[in-house]
Amino acid sequence: MYLVALKMLVGDRGKYLGLIMGLTFAALLITQQSSIFTGLMTRTFSFINDLSQPDIWVMDPKVQFIDDVKPLQDTELLRVRGVTGVEWAVPLYKGLLKARLQDGNFQIVNVLGLDDATLIGGPPVMVQGSLADLRTQDSIIVDEVGASTRLARRSVEPGGGATPLGVGDALEINDRRAVVVGICRVSRTFQSQPVIYTTYNRATTFAPRERKLLSFILVKGAEGMDPRELAGRIARGTGLAAYTADAFKRLTFDFYMRNTGIPINFGIAVTLGFLIGTAIAGQTFYNFTLEHLRYFGTLKAMGTTNGVLLRMIVLQALVVGVQGYGLGIGGAALFGYLMRGTQLAFRLVPEILILAGAAIVVIVTLSALISVRKVMKLEPAIVFKM
């Protein structure tokens, strides 16, 4: 009887394709929007991901997320180094500064100042030059996307292409000369400004005069030291906030979730995908059942039990559900693949596939329930009146 159910389903081409399209659309929209949401939210803490060496980030207790810099006095570094269990602690400058380009344009850049001695916290991938080149005078390393977009030299000719910033080119940051000695690759950030690496001391000369300039202290625990325990010890000993890398990511993520419209915007898109998918699939499946009511009634009259009819309808719903889900997530994955290398934030993780799968299960269950109810209540005597 299950083959009969499948042939009833597949034989009605229009409804069958309509059902699959509705479910594909729902799965595609849910998967795609959730992946963009995840990609965007991942960018909020991409700086933390890129700096993999430290176990612990130490900062002002009022800091709420990675870009919420509240500078510390340089002496705090020495206090943190004095905490038992700290193997090393280095300063990190992080700030948005105004750079003057060679063509006279200005651009806000994200400057990271690394510990002069160790250069800990450097970019994850060097494309040109080396991190050690930062030891030369006025040197900076620029991220490749920033170098080829916002920091690129625009053509004087209308419609002409831009020339990427390259090794040897110079900028002015806060009226101080900065020479590009390397190009690096970093994870895209939420704010999308170009990223510039330099040494801590040079960064403090780029920055406007302030009494406090130390943004973060990066800490590595001694071997065998539990980072969470050490973070607690630093916090208690210094009065500063100390987070493990994961805790700092969570803090940043939570801030964006609470204080921006991102979750609600994407939540609406995902909910719309779910509702539209439910409406299309539910309506089409119900119409399919209505049009086949005569045949369900005939099967019922001939002795098919409600249990078998229920399983036939569930099978039909499952088949279109699996096909719609497969096509939907395939389409979303293809979309992500085609958009690779663009500025689009797209991150498809297994949890999203599970979420989309669960949503499709709910949609087909709701669709099937409406139809099942109709068939279960069907009086077999109706077949003589059809």
Binding site: M1, K7, M8, G11, R294, K300, P380, F384
Partner: protein, 235 residues
């Protein structure tokens, strides 16, 4: 087989639809016997209760009062599930609009009652082929119903009704959508293929062109059997 030779016995059967002022009394105390080996036609004006009567006999509609016994089993004492199984094992249906599933082949349509009984697909299709041969459609096994004429579709429906060898066949206006020649052909097939000593046929019809195929004709009016008369069969 029934001990007294009756396949169906109805005594004082009533059935009404709706309630209060909109209540319609479809059957008003029907008494009727249908014998094994006979083809009984139920005739009468529209709305007289013919379809309601075969519906309660075929256990697809519950009656209100009275006693219905089909092959010595009282329908009134059966649960819905028991009625479903009873239909599966004992009743074959032929509908006015054929009710063949258009996306299944002719052979697959005919095999459905056997699949409901739990037969293996290959065995069911093999038996369906035999039945289609018997009704003269052995060359249409792989055709789909919409590609067949009305007469051919009704012959497929007859094959489907007979394929699991039920003991009672109920037919609702089997020839009303067919021209006279095709109607006679279908009735000929029905009578020849379906009628046997261990089986009974009940046919509801308006079509006086086929009255001659009946063994007896029960006339109904306003929910009652008004006359049961013998009819000489032509075949």
């Amino acid at each position: 087989m029934s001990s007294n030779g009756a396949a169906v016995v109805l005594r004082g059967v009533t059935k009404s639809y709706g309630s209060g002022s909109s209540r319609v009394q479809a059957l008003r105390g029907v008494d009727l016997d249908v014998r094994l080996g006979e083809l009984l036609m139920l005739v009468g004006p529209s709305g007289c209760g013919k379809t309601t009567l075969i519906s309660v006999v075929a256990a697809i509609l519950d009656h209100d009062e009275g006693e219905i016994t089909v092959f010595d089993r009282s329908l009134g004492s059966m649960s819905q599930l028991q009625k479903t199984r009873f239909r599966r094992d004992n009743i074959g249906f032929v509908f006015q609009a054929y009710n063949l599933i258009p996306t299944l082949t002719v052979a697959e349509n005919v095999a459905i009652p056997l699949l409901i009984l739990g037969s293996r697909r290959s065995a069911a299709l093999s038996r369906a082929r035999d039945m289609l041969d018997a009704v003269g459609l052995g060359d249409k096994l792989s055709a789909f119903p919409p590609a067949l004429s009305g007469g051919q579709q009704q012959r497929v429906a007859i094959a489907r009704a007979l394929v699991n060898d039920p003991r009672l066949i109920v037919c609702d206006e089997p020839t009303s959508a067919l021209d006279a020649d095709t109607g006679r052909l279908v009735m000929d097939v029905l009578r020849r293929s379906a009628l046997s000593e261990s089986r009974a046929l009940m046919i509801v019809t308006h079509d006086n062109r086929i009255f001659s195929f009946a063994d007896r004709i029960a006339r109904m009016d306003d929910g009652r059997i008004t006359l049961v008369e013998p009819q000489v069969a032509t075949s």
